[in-house]
């Protein structure tokens, strides 16, 4: 436990070791640690940014999807409308065609009926003449009694 030269030897060793740490160890390690810190900070920031980008992209995708859905709905609606319109038009056309056909048929029927009436009238007049001839026993002068016959036929 004597104080001796060891004191100075230890001091020299101490100073040498401090010098070594100061020169080679400390700056190298600290700079590397700072570099890593920066790298990690950058990485975190990049991750943050990526997160934000992802959020944005998601939002954009959602918007596009909504738009597409809306458009699709619009298109379907339009198509439905158009289909209804076509059906309506077709119905109208059909109805008009039907009406037209009906009218034509009615007109034909009426014509036919009129023709039949005319024929019947003529035949009735001839029948009446024949009946009157038979009643009167002689032939009625068709010319003389033509007015009468015509009047009769008109009354029928």
């Amino acid at each position: 436990m004597n104080i001796n030269l060891t004191l100075i030897g230890q001091s020299i060793t101490f100073i040498a070791f401090i010098w070594f740490c100061m020169k080679f160890v400390w700056p190298a390690l600290i700079s590397i640690m700072e570099e890593r810190e920066k790298k990690i900070a950058d990485g975190l920031e990049a991750a943050d940014r990526a997160d934000k980008d992802l959020e944005l992209a998601k939002k954009k995708a959602g918007e596009t999807l909504t738009d597409a859905k809306k458009q699709a709905a619009e298109i379907i609606e339009q198509a439905n409308k158009r289909a209804n319109q076509i059906v309506d038009e077709a119905k109208d056309q059909a109805r008009a065609e039907g009406d037209r056909l009906k009218a034509a048929a009615q007109a034909e029927i009426e014509q036919e009926a009129n023709r039949a009436k005319e024929e019947l009238r003529g035949k009735v007049a001839a029948l009446a003449l024949a009946g009157a001839e038979k009643v009167l026993g002689n032939a009625i002068d068709a010319n003389a009694h033509n007015d009468l016959v015509d009047k009769l036929a008109a009354e029928l």
Partner: protein, 308 residues
């Protein structure tokens, strides 16, 4: 364990003696353990001390080979580890030695930046040096007290070969570091405040009136107070570490004595040794940390310019 024919006192004294190498004057009578004169030196001789008395008689011009050897060896180990960490260092994922060293550096850096707020490239590396080196030197305390001295005695072929493996139980080592810190303290004080600033700090504190005729009487009082507090810093710094480790070593030696005192005492000694060693893990770390923190605090004080 105490060897045959050795008393407990002798065993303890043997364990507390460093391996001193120094000069013995001409005409010096070298004694053996029993006090008989072995030889009388014809001229001044540089030699290894064989007894404690010889180590004392060598005076100041002697070195403790074991203290210096172990502290340099431990410094080299640390230097090697640090060098390896720096060599493999990159900003990628740290692993192995690099990760471990970086952890320590990080811890020291945090502690230093907490205490020391000035710009000085020396302080943090010095704190790292102190913390790791003192820790390593303290750690030698956990090696069973007889292993290395026994091995050294076997190699030297001398059963009375002195060999103390814990450098911090040698006041030369702790005071050597403390005095270096003290020198740096004074250097930075003068560098930061100028020589007059340093003198003013010693003479105008803590009592200061502002009137010169009062100050004249206050200056001597201040000087005594401040000088004592200044001198007390390195002494307390060095002796605290020395005292803690010396006491710890002493307990280990006393416990080791129990192993030669029969089976029951031996078993008791086993548990005591283990308990004390576990407790000592705390002490060696704490003392290394305390030495580092106090050094940093003293450096911060040296840089702080006090307001008058």
């Amino acid at each position: 364990m105490a060897s045959e024919g050795q008393t407990s006192t002798g065993y303890i004294q043997h364990h507390l003696q460093n391996l001193a190498y120094g000069k013995l004057p001409a005409g010096y009578e070298r004694l053996d353990a029993n006090g008989n004169v072995v030889e009388v030196l014809q001229q001044d001789t540089w030699t290894i001390a064989h007894t404690s008395q010889e180590a004392v008689d060598m005076g100041f011009w002697a070195v403790h080979l074991d203290t210096l050897g172990w502290s340099v060896f431990l410094a080299l180990i640390l230097g090697f580890i640090f060098n390896k960490a720096v060599g493999t260092a990159n900003a990628g994922v740290p692993k192995g030695v690099q990760s471990f060293v970086e952890m320590i550096v990080e811890f020291v850096n945090a502690t230093v930046t907490d205490i020391f707020h000035h710009k000085n490239r020396l302080i943090a590396p010095m704190a790292l040096t102190i913390f790791t080196w003192v820790f390593m030197m303290n750690l030698m305390d956990l090696i069973p007290v007889d292993w290395l001295p026994f091995a050294a005695a076997q190699i030297a072929g001398d059963p009375h070969f002195f060999f103390k493996v814990v450098p911090t139980t040698d006041p030369n080592a702790t005071m050597g570091m403390a005095l270096t810190v003290f020198a740096l303290m004074i250097f930075f004080s003068i560098q930061q405040k100028g020589f007059m600033g340093f003198v003013k700090e010693l003479t105008l504190h803590p009592f200061h009136s502002g009137k010169w005729f009062v100050d004249i009487f206050l200056i001597p009082v201040n000087l005594i107070l401040e000088t004592v507090s200044l001198i007390a810093k390195p002494i307390s710094l060095g002796l605290r570490l020395f005292g803690n480790l010396y006491a710890g070593e002493m307990i280990f030696i006393l416990i080791a004595l129990m192993f030669s005192a029969g089976l029951v005492m031996g078993i008791g000694g086993f548990f005591l040794q283990m308990g004390w060693a576990i407790f000592h893990i705390l002490v060696i770390t704490l003392q290394a940390f305390v030495f580092m923190v106090l050094t940093t605090v003293y450096m911060a004080m040296a840089h702080d310019v006090e307001e008058h």
